[in-house]
Symmetry: C2
Subunit: 106 residues, 2 copies
Amino acid sequence: MDAKPPYYAVIFSSRLADDTGYHEAADAMLALGSAQPGFLGFESARGQDGHGITVSYWASLEAIAAWRAQAEHRAAQREGRARFYERFQVHIARVERAYSFEASPT
Amino acid sequence: MDAKPPYYAVIFSSRLADDTGYHEAADAMLALGSAQPGFLGFESARGQDGHGITVSYWASLEAIAAWRAQAEHRAAQREGRARFYERFQVHIARVERAYSFEASPT
Protein backbone atom coordinates (compact mmCIF):
# COMPACT_ATOMS: atom_id res chain seq x y z
CA MET A 1 0.00 0.00 0.00
CA ASP A 2 1.38 3.37 -0.99
CA ALA A 3 -0.38 5.64 1.53
CA LYS A 4 1.82 7.28 4.18
CA PRO A 5 0.68 7.17 7.82
CA PRO A 6 -1.34 8.40 9.52
CA TYR A 7 -4.34 6.59 8.09
CA TYR A 8 -6.85 4.16 9.62
CA ALA A 9 -7.28 0.41 9.85
CA VAL A 10 -10.42 -1.60 10.55
CA ILE A 11 -9.39 -4.96 11.97
CA PHE A 12 -12.29 -7.37 11.58
CA SER A 13 -11.77 -10.81 13.08
CA SER A 14 -14.52 -13.37 12.86
CA ARG A 15 -15.54 -16.97 13.22
CA LEU A 16 -17.97 -18.28 10.63
CA ALA A 17 -21.04 -20.20 11.72
CA ASP A 18 -22.18 -21.01 8.17
CA ASP A 19 -20.17 -20.27 5.03
CA THR A 20 -22.95 -21.08 2.54
CA GLY A 21 -23.00 -18.07 0.25
CA TYR A 22 -20.46 -16.29 2.42
CA HIS A 23 -17.66 -15.97 -0.10
CA GLU A 24 -19.93 -14.49 -2.76
CA ALA A 25 -21.31 -12.00 -0.23
CA ALA A 26 -17.79 -11.13 0.99
CA ASP A 27 -16.55 -10.61 -2.59
CA ALA A 28 -19.51 -8.35 -3.35
CA MET A 29 -18.80 -6.28 -0.21
CA LEU A 30 -15.12 -6.03 -1.12
CA ALA A 31 -16.01 -4.74 -4.58
CA LEU A 32 -18.42 -2.23 -3.08
CA GLY A 33 -15.99 -1.17 -0.32
CA SER A 34 -13.10 -0.71 -2.76
CA ALA A 35 -15.18 1.86 -4.63
CA GLN A 36 -15.89 3.92 -1.47
CA PRO A 37 -14.17 7.30 -1.09
CA GLY A 38 -11.13 7.00 1.16
CA PHE A 39 -10.62 3.24 0.68
CA LEU A 40 -6.87 2.56 0.61
CA GLY A 41 -6.57 -1.21 0.52
CA PHE A 42 -7.33 -4.46 2.32
CA GLU A 43 -5.91 -7.83 3.27
CA SER A 44 -7.59 -10.98 4.45
CA ALA A 45 -6.75 -14.47 5.72
CA ARG A 46 -8.98 -17.30 6.88
CA GLY A 47 -7.82 -20.61 8.27
CA GLN A 48 -9.49 -23.97 7.88
CA ASP A 49 -10.88 -23.63 11.40
CA GLY A 50 -13.23 -20.87 10.17
CA HIS A 51 -11.39 -18.09 12.00
CA GLY A 52 -10.51 -15.15 9.77
CA ILE A 53 -9.02 -11.69 9.93
CA THR A 54 -9.71 -8.96 7.39
CA VAL A 55 -8.00 -5.59 7.67
CA SER A 56 -9.19 -2.68 5.54
CA TYR A 57 -7.33 0.62 5.38
CA TRP A 58 -8.96 4.01 5.09
CA ALA A 59 -7.92 7.64 4.69
CA SER A 60 -10.00 8.92 7.63
CA LEU A 61 -12.52 8.03 10.34
CA GLU A 62 -15.13 9.86 8.24
CA ALA A 63 -14.49 7.46 5.35
CA ILE A 64 -14.99 4.50 7.71
CA ALA A 65 -18.22 5.98 9.08
CA ALA A 66 -19.53 6.56 5.55
CA TRP A 67 -18.74 2.97 4.57
CA ARG A 68 -20.36 1.66 7.73
CA ALA A 69 -23.55 3.60 6.89
CA GLN A 70 -23.66 2.64 3.19
CA ALA A 71 -27.06 1.07 2.44
CA GLU A 72 -26.06 -2.23 0.81
CA HIS A 73 -23.30 -2.62 3.37
CA ARG A 74 -25.83 -2.19 6.18
CA ALA A 75 -27.96 -4.95 4.66
CA ALA A 76 -24.86 -7.16 4.47
CA GLN A 77 -24.03 -6.37 8.12
CA ARG A 78 -27.52 -7.54 9.12
CA GLU A 79 -27.13 -10.72 7.07
CA GLY A 80 -23.69 -11.30 8.59
CA ARG A 81 -25.10 -11.10 12.11
CA ALA A 82 -28.13 -13.23 11.27
CA ARG A 83 -26.44 -15.96 9.21
CA PHE A 84 -22.72 -16.01 8.69
CA TYR A 85 -20.93 -15.14 11.89
CA GLU A 86 -20.74 -17.06 15.11
CA ARG A 87 -18.89 -14.05 16.49
CA PHE A 88 -16.78 -11.15 15.37
CA GLN A 89 -14.68 -8.39 16.85
CA VAL A 90 -13.87 -5.02 15.32
CA HIS A 91 -10.95 -2.75 16.18
CA ILE A 92 -10.69 0.69 14.63
CA ALA A 93 -7.14 1.97 14.82
CA ARG A 94 -5.00 4.85 13.63
CA VAL A 95 -1.93 3.57 11.78
CA GLU A 96 1.12 5.41 13.08
CA ARG A 97 3.87 3.50 11.31
CA ALA A 98 4.19 0.94 8.53
CA TYR A 99 7.10 -0.99 7.06
CA SER A 100 7.58 -4.03 4.91
CA PHE A 101 10.09 -6.69 3.93
CA GLU A 102 10.50 -8.58 0.69
CA ALA A 103 12.93 -11.48 0.31
CA SER A 104 15.57 -11.12 -2.40
CA PRO A 105 15.05 -13.54 -5.27
CA THR A 106 17.31 -16.54 -4.74
CA MET B 1 -9.93 -8.86 25.13
CA ASP B 2 -10.82 -6.84 28.18
CA ALA B 3 -8.60 -3.78 27.75
CA LYS B 4 -10.31 -0.48 27.04
CA PRO B 5 -9.00 1.71 24.19
CA PRO B 6 -6.71 3.42 23.64
CA TYR B 7 -4.11 0.66 23.28
CA TYR B 8 -1.95 -0.47 20.39
CA ALA B 9 -2.11 -3.10 17.68
CA VAL B 10 0.70 -4.59 15.61
CA ILE B 11 -0.78 -5.92 12.37
CA PHE B 12 1.68 -8.40 10.86
CA SER B 13 0.68 -9.79 7.47
CA SER B 14 2.97 -12.24 5.75
CA ARG B 15 3.42 -14.76 3.01
CA LEU B 16 5.45 -17.84 3.89
CA ALA B 17 8.25 -19.01 1.61
CA ASP B 18 9.01 -22.15 3.63
CA ASP B 19 6.96 -23.39 6.56
CA THR B 20 9.39 -26.10 7.69
CA GLY B 21 9.78 -25.47 11.40
CA TYR B 22 7.70 -22.31 11.14
CA HIS B 23 4.83 -23.31 13.39
CA GLU B 24 7.15 -24.39 16.22
CA ALA B 25 9.06 -21.11 15.92
CA ALA B 26 5.81 -19.10 15.83
CA ASP B 27 4.44 -20.91 18.89
CA ALA B 28 7.67 -20.27 20.79
CA MET B 29 7.51 -16.55 19.90
CA LEU B 30 3.88 -16.38 20.97
CA ALA B 31 4.73 -17.92 24.34
CA LEU B 32 7.60 -15.46 24.77
CA GLY B 33 5.57 -12.45 23.59
CA SER B 34 2.65 -13.30 25.87
CA ALA B 35 4.97 -13.03 28.85
CA GLN B 36 6.21 -9.54 27.86
CA PRO B 37 5.10 -6.55 29.94
CA GLY B 38 2.19 -4.77 28.27
CA PHE B 39 1.04 -7.74 26.14
CA LEU B 40 -2.77 -7.67 25.97
CA GLY B 41 -3.69 -10.40 23.51
CA PHE B 42 -3.33 -11.67 19.97
CA GLU B 43 -5.22 -13.26 17.11
CA SER B 44 -4.01 -15.03 14.00
CA ALA B 45 -5.32 -16.58 10.79
CA ARG B 46 -3.49 -18.20 7.90
CA GLY B 47 -5.08 -19.48 4.71
CA GLN B 48 -3.98 -22.44 2.64
CA ASP B 49 -2.33 -20.06 0.18
CA GLY B 50 0.32 -19.26 2.81
CA HIS B 51 -0.93 -15.74 3.43
CA GLY B 52 -1.46 -14.96 7.09
CA ILE B 53 -2.35 -12.10 9.39
CA THR B 54 -1.39 -11.92 13.05
CA VAL B 55 -2.52 -9.03 15.21
CA SER B 56 -1.01 -8.53 18.66
CA TYR B 57 -2.32 -5.96 21.11
CA TRP B 58 -0.17 -3.95 23.49
CA ALA B 59 -0.64 -1.42 26.28
CA SER B 60 1.80 1.13 24.83
CA LEU B 61 4.30 1.89 22.07
CA GLU B 62 7.03 1.39 24.68
CA ALA B 63 5.83 -2.18 25.27
CA ILE B 64 5.99 -2.82 21.51
CA ALA B 65 9.49 -1.35 21.27
CA ALA B 66 10.67 -3.49 24.19
CA TRP B 67 9.26 -6.63 22.58
CA ARG B 68 10.85 -5.73 19.26
CA ALA B 69 14.24 -5.39 20.97
CA GLN B 70 13.96 -8.59 23.05
CA ALA B 71 17.02 -10.78 22.34
CA GLU B 72 15.37 -14.09 21.41
CA HIS B 73 12.76 -12.21 19.42
CA ARG B 74 15.50 -10.43 17.47
CA ALA B 75 17.06 -13.79 16.62
CA ALA B 76 13.63 -15.02 15.47
CA GLN B 77 13.17 -11.88 13.35
CA ARG B 78 16.49 -12.62 11.60
CA GLU B 79 15.47 -16.23 11.01
CA GLY B 80 12.08 -15.07 9.71
CA ARG B 81 13.71 -12.81 7.14
CA ALA B 82 16.30 -15.40 6.15
CA ARG B 83 14.08 -18.48 5.97
CA PHE B 84 10.36 -18.27 6.55
CA TYR B 85 8.94 -15.19 4.88
CA GLU B 86 8.66 -14.41 1.22
CA ARG B 87 7.42 -11.01 2.34
CA PHE B 88 5.72 -9.31 5.23
CA GLN B 89 4.19 -5.98 6.13
CA VAL B 90 3.84 -4.44 9.58
CA HIS B 91 1.38 -1.76 10.64
CA ILE B 92 1.59 -0.25 14.10
CA ALA B 93 -1.68 1.37 15.03
CA ARG B 94 -3.42 3.00 17.98
CA VAL B 95 -6.75 1.34 18.69
CA GLU B 96 -9.38 4.04 19.15
CA ARG B 97 -12.50 1.90 19.35
CA ALA B 98 -13.41 -1.76 19.71
CA TYR B 99 -16.69 -3.67 19.69
CA SER B 100 -17.81 -7.23 19.26
CA PHE B 101 -20.74 -9.41 18.38
CA GLU B 102 -21.65 -12.89 19.54
CA ALA B 103 -24.53 -14.87 18.03
CA SER B 104 -27.24 -16.01 20.43
CA PRO B 105 -27.27 -19.78 20.92
CA THR B 106 -29.91 -21.28 18.59
